[in-house]
Symmetry: C2
């Protein structure tokens, strides 16, 4: 019974996400769905990515949070268009929520839209928003058993950013194990090791992302 | 429409959780629902708590994960009864899942049952399992903005363990801010600062928990 309900919701969401996608394609807008656990560093990565790419790409941001507008305020300081979605209780963004922000943006003046999802390693991976690709972040402070325990997000993502590598001397976490288990789940996954604190690895990530946006292709 | 469906599910779950609770009460069994983001340290805390209390209390554990039995294997090494629930895709445990483990335990020989929920700072707080109290963990690596962004779990919990305080010199996180924001949401919240790595604060936590179990009261 419950499974049926969930499947209906997912199918209805897929249809709306497809409509979003058509609109994005019409405006040649590349869209990323950025996902992670709470506190893995999505907003920090986004700040760094905007710094790295704003000379080359016109970027817009949708911030998803249960409540508060703190993340949107952080992004607004970067002088890019940003809209905050407060989901109330919902633990993920869906296609409809994204759709309701469209009138706030001028897509003709944007190359890249980043959707920062609610902090949650589970549900966001199930709900498409119309993105070209999903990107996920894992902080080394979360430990190296996460691919095995939360495989769906690793399977669905095109890129994995292993963040906070500056903490590696102080935590029990093998980056090698994350790499091996992630690639077993998703052999096509592109993996970057980064630190949003000291900037390590961000140039490589920004270069790769810029290439994908310019090519208009996630793969 | 979707809201109605969700409410029905929650109400049905509450009824099952109440049945679980009656059964627990009949066996004088104290039950904790342990919740956090992925990688905040639930299993490590549980290992440490078993070490600290096994002379005084007979403990059993239910491990909830999307998939894998890694956490149950870790707990089994402590020689306490443990059952692993794999939720498939579900991002939280519910009353029915807990109910299905009952035949695996002898409640007459247990004082404390700890239910380790799926790693998720959102949904588990909405689904009762029949617990006496909810306890949550927040790792300092997740940052100090979590009470403001994920208030429900802070509101529902009786105790908050601020974990990985050994990492404080290396992360941008104010424990004072976590304390202030958490207590604004939930003035009754009992807060412990702990490190499962070096053992700091665990004696105080174990002492408090033992008192609650012996009194048979969460408050």
């Amino acid at each position: 019974m419950k499974i049926t309900v969930v499947r209906d919701i997912l199918e209805a969401n897929d249809r709306i996400a497809d409509l979003n996608r058509e609109l994005f394609d019409r405006h040649h807008l590349f869209v990323i769905n950025l996902m992670s656990s709470p506190g893995a560093g999505k907003t920090s990565l986004l700040e760094r990515t905007i710094d790295g790419l704003k000379q080359d790409l016109r970027i817009g941001v949708i911030e998803g949070d249960i409540q508060s507008s703190r993340d949107a305020e952080r992004i607004a300081r970067k002088s890019v268009p940003v809209v905050q979605i407060n989901t109330g209780g919902a633990c993920h963004l869906d296609g409809n929520m994204i759709r309701e922000t469209f009138h706030e943006f001028n897509f003709e003046e944007m190359d890249l839209l980043v959707v920062e999802n609610v902090g949650n390693l589970v549900c966001p991976a199930e709900f498409k928003v119309g993105e070209d690709m999903k990107v996920m972040i894992l902080s080394v402070a979360e430990g190296d058993d996460k691919p095995m325990k939360y495989p769906l997000m690793f399977r669905e993502s095109k890129a994995l950013l292993i963040n906070k590598i500056d903490l590696l001397p102080y935590v029990d976490c093998s980056v090698e194990r994350i790499r091996e288990d992630s690639l077993r789940i998703n052999p096509e996954l592109r993996i970057f090791e980064v630190s949003c604190k000291n900037g390590n690895g961000l140039e490589e990530w920004c270069g790769w992302l810029k290439g994908r946006v310019k090519a208009g292709r996630p793969g």
